[in-house]
Every structure is written in C-alpha cells, then in structure tokens.
Assembly symmetry: C2
Homo-oligomer: 349 residues x 2
DNA sequence: CTGAAAGCGCTAACAG
DNA sequence: CTGTTAGCGCTTTCAG
C-alpha cells in the first residue's frame, strides 16, 4: 500500500503538501497540485484511516445505538442515518442496545472505543452513571432520537407521538366510536406517556376524558395484543374500537378478533401505530399512525454533522407523524349504516 | 484520556508490560498484573483503537456489504453478523450496495479504507475489475453470502435455494396441482437459476418438466406479483397454484387474487419464498420457503473470524432452507374434496 | 505557498 | 518475565 511518503517522493514535494491537498486545507500551488494528483492516481494511493485518525483524533465514523438492529423499524432508521452520513463521507457503526440498560451501556462504550466522531442514540433506559461520565469526558457529541432524556445530548430528535395519537383517537371519535380500548405499551417508555397525553387531548375535544375509555398497559408485542383483545372480547363486548399501542399489538389484536369471528372494521375498528412493515399486508390493511423513522434517522444524522462542523443546532426537533388511512377503521356499528364503506385510502396501501 | 504511558507509570512498569497484559500475549508476572490492573481501573484507561490499529494493522472491525441495509431481510442478516462479531469483540460496519455494480464497488472501497479486518459480501453483481485488484492487494479476507461468485472470497455461504424450491414445488405437486405458474425473479440472479433447477428436479420426480408449468421472469417485487397474477387470471384461468419468486411477489399475487374474488387456497394455492417479515401477517398466512438469512449472517461471520484466526475453513457452506407450512396451500380444487382443509401448520404462525 | 520536525498512542522485536 | 527501542502513516505547527 502506497503511503503519503511515496506520493510526496513521486510528486517531488513534501509530505505536508500532499497532506494539505488531501485534507483540502492550506494553500497548494497549481503546479504542486497537478503533480500530487498525478502521483496519487498512478500509485493508487488511499490515505490510511488509522494513521489519520490517530493524529487528528477524528475517525469519520458515526456510532449509532438502536434497540435492535434486526428489527425492520430500526433498520429503516439506520438506512436513513447511513444515507445521510455517506453523503458527508462518513460511515456508521451500529450496535443494538436491546432495550436493556447494561447492553446499552456496553454498546455506547464499544462505539466510544471505536473513536466515533459522534453518537446517535435511540435508548430505552436512562444512561448508567459511569457511562454518562465517560461520554462526557470523551466530549463526543451526542444526538438522541425518540426515547428518553439523555443529559449529554446536544440535540434531540423526537417523533410527535402526542399529535399522532391525538389524530388517531380523533379519527375514532369522529367515526362515532365511544367504547374504545387503548392497548398501551409499558409506562416506562416516554412514548407511552406522550401518546396518552395526545389521547387525552383528543378526548377533551369531545368533552371526554381518559376515564371514558378503557386503557390497558402491557408491552409492545403481538402477544399482548392477542391476549388483551381475547380477554376484552369477553369482558367488554361493548367495545367498538381498539387503538393498539403499535402495529405489533394491532396484529395480535386482529388475530384475536378474527378468531372470535369478528369482522374488521364492520364489528370492531382497529387502529395501529408506527406503520411498521407489515401494516399494509394485514387484511384489512391497517389504518395506523406512521412514525417516519427513516426521516428521524436522517435528521439526527444531519444534526450531528452540523454539530461536528461547529454549527449551532436546534436542541429539539420534532418530526410530525402521519395518519395512514387504510381499511381497518369504519363507523361505529349502526351509527350510520349508509356510510359503512367509506374510509377512503389517502395513501395507497 | 489516560494513555498506556500513564498506566505504566502508575503501575511502575514499562509500557510493553501493560501492552502485553492488554493484548493477552506474552508473559506477565502476577505482581505486575495486579499493579497494572489496579492502575487501569483507577485511571479508567481504555486503549486507543486508532493507535493500536495503526501499529498492529488490525481494526477489529468487520465490514459488510448487503443489498440494502433498510430492508428487513438484510437487517436480519446484519443482526446475525453483529451478534457473532460482538462475541469476538469485533464491531461491524455495513454499507448498502443497492444491487448496483458501481455502488457495490464504492461500498467495498469505503470498507477497505476503514481498515476492516475482513469483509462479508452479499453482492448482486460481479466485482469491478479494479476493485478486485484492490481487494486482492489489501489481502483482506473475504467471505461471501448468497449471490454471485466472487473470486477473492476465501469462503462462501450459500443458501440452499435448489432444495428449497424443490421442496416447495413438490408440495404443490403432492397436493395435486398441475397447472402451476412460477413467477420468477430476473435471470441475472444466481438465486433464480438455482431455484429453477430445484423446480426442474421436483417436476422430474413427477415425470414432468419445466415445459409443463408456466414460468415467467419479472422482478422480486410486489408490483410484479400483482401484475403478473392479474394477467394470468385472464390468460390462464386454469392455473390452480402460483409459486412466487419471493414473499413480496406473493403479497402482490395475493392482492390480485383477492381483487378478482378468488379464495386462497380454495381457488388458487399460493407459495412464497424467503419467509420474509410479512409472510405470517398475510391472510391466509403464507406457506413459504424460509431462507435462514440470520443464520447465514452468523455462519459467514464465524467463517471470517476463523480465517482471521488462521484456522482452515470449508470453502463453501450451504445452509438448508425450510418449508414453512401456513395456510395458503390446499389440494387442487375438486381433487379430494374431503381433505379440503388439511394443510396443518407445522410451524406456528 | 512549502518543507522540516515533532509527535499522536500503541506494539513488536530484541536483548536482557 | 521485563524494559528499551524503533517506528506504524499521518497531521500540524512553525519557520522559511
């Protein structure tokens, strides 16, 4: 592998000149530039990342922590991050935190040890104190996405859970539903609280409160959706609409509804959250609140790049959600029989 | 940040001793070990990856190229890679090749420049000649997964497409189907040919040949599945089973079938390939050939780690596919009315 | 505008 | 078993 010394010799200049040309800082005469460029070409020279990093303390690598790399949801976010990073000549290393405090700590330290220029964190737990300290001491800029507060973060990208949940609940109420179940995720998640506050707001608009609906806390999983729905079908047969904490919960709910011979949306309306990969493949297509997680990845990366460039950035950026109308929500049974089959698809499924 | 020199001073030994202890090679007396470990603890010392890499020419980073990081299919593979790499103290950088020759070349060079210790490639095109040369010169070990031949690869992980496709076709034939359409992906993919050869084998077992079924080449996309099926419904109303090139194609086919008022599997049976994320969420649950892509990621990484450790490895490892029986395949209409509802679910959906 | 010089933090012979 | 020595390839003052 050719080194900068080889190039400088061949071009008849000093190593510094070559270095300056590559880095694009400092002045280089046209003559020198030509010679160096030719030498680089001929030798097929590519700078050694390690040496450069050791010296300059930059790696051009951005570290990302998400809950789970293999999940389609985070894969999309990673895609957004990568796309943006690449256009700035940076690469991404991602690690999974598995929504576990210790794993998240491990992941962050792994990335810090890789000398990442900056970190993008989607965490589900508060940072361990010693990690907080390590992150702070390393002076590595941090941007967080969704999830919880993270003290060292210089910027935070949040997805507008409250408005999304409000829009969803409003749709249900508009369709005449009043006996509504909300199958929530766990209360440890910020998302959960944000969505509940959105739901409260929507209910208030109809002169209702959270006490007027049935709220159940479980987990963001298909299993929970299935179990809770099966139970509700017996305990609360009057329920006409289920708002699922996310699309996995919705998938489980749908299964339970079908198993009980219920038609969606004729008998029970179903609303999801996320617009996850499978939402459009369910039958009926799931009406859901889309979280533009790929966009969140892009925005977070853009923010981090700006910070690295020393530009000032907004401390919080909120990304709007979008109600995706498919076919799982209808008017409440008997309310307006003539408009039974309305729910037009705003977005092609 | 504490350096190795700080540690050595504090422990009252030389830097070499510290280095040896960290690397775990060479002998260190118990006394020295204790002192060094204490110093490391007190100083919160963590070795500088760049310096280490520059000197030792290892980065403990493995590079991966897949078609698209954001797709659930590759996300699973990445998950498998990461899991395995982490247990060996290595990290993974992935880049997307977008099934495009130039993008793949760019991705590989990016990874090589990051001084990856080894490369795991899932490519859809032949390597560009200059990249081939660069990879060879860098002496970076390469393991490929699926896809096409790649000369510098020291090991290849392939998924047994032929057997999978054969098993699928056999199932269709067993159920009495004879008017079968195979909606294939493009002929540029190795996968396509492998699956066709498996299909040929299955047909041969029934005294049939490829001429006895309807084969159509399109792309691995929902759109193709939809269009082709809609067309078939008119041109070949006698068809009783559709074998889709992958689950996306199957999803499109299912949509077209439903739109035409056909019941699956009563009127037409449908078989997918991949066992992609949405397969189990379709209605009916899609019977499909599972490609254990997460396992492929794990195996490829294990191979690469072995190569890096100087161990001999098998040049080709084939991972078996698995037929996942759900509910989209039934006996051919009218063939055995009594067994209309058989298709037992081997794997819970 | 350019070159010389001085390391970044670590590892790997090698000689004790 | 341990310390000394000599860089890995690059960037960055600092003088010219």
């Amino acid at each position: 592998m050719a080194t900068i010394t080889d190039v400088s010799k061949r071009a008849g200049v000093s190593r510094s000149t070559v270095s300056r040309l590559i880095a694009g800082n400092g002045y280089v005469s046209d003559e020198a530039r030509k010679a160096v460029e030719a030498a680089i070409q001929e030798l097929g020279y590519r700078p050694n990342t390690m040496a450069r990093g050791l010296r300059s303390n930059r790696s051009d690598i951005i570290g990302g922590v998400v809950v789970n790399v293999s999940s389609p949801f985070y894969a999309q976010m990673i895609g957004g991050m990568q796309e943006t990073a690449r256009s700035a000549g940076k690469s991404i290393i991602v690690a999974s935190g598995y929504a576990d405090r210790e794993e998240e700590a491990r992941a962050i330290i792994e990335l810090l040890d890789r000398a990442c220029d900056g970190l993008i964190l989607y965490l589900e737990n508060a940072l361990r104190d010693d990690v907080l300290e390590i992150v702070a001491r390393s002076k590595t800029p941090v941007v967080t996405v969704g999830g919880n507060e993270c003290p060292p973060a210089r910027a935070r990208v949040t997805i507008d859970n409250a408005s999304g949940a409000a829009a969803g609940m409003r749709l249900l109420l508009d369709k005449g539903h009043r006996q509504i179940a909300y199958l929530s995720g766990g209360t440890i998640y910020r998302d959960t609280h944000e969505r509940l506050s959105g739901i409260d707001a929507a209910l208030a608009g109809f002169g209702l409160s959270r006490n007027d609906i049935h709220v159940e806390h479980g987990s963001f999983s298909e299993t929970f959706g299935h179990e809770a729905t099966a139970r509700l079908l017996i305990e609360r047969p009057d329920i006409t609409a289920i708002f699922a904490g996310d699309d996995d919960v919705a998938a489980g709910a749908l299964l339970a509804l079908k198993a009980a011979g219920k038609l969606v949306p004729e008998d029970v309306s179903l609303l999801g959250f996320d617009d996850n990969f499978h939402a459009r493949h369910l039958t009926p297509g799931l009406t859901t609140v889309r979280q533009p997680v790929d966009e969140a990845g892009r925005v977070a990366t853009r923010l981090l790049l700006a910070i690295l460039d020393g530009e000032p950035v907004a401390p919080v950026i909120t990304i709007p959600t979008e109600l995706i109308l498919r076919h799982s929500i209808g008017p409440v049974r008997g309310l307006s029989p003539t408009s039974r089959h309305v729910a037009p698809a705003l977005t092609a499924s």
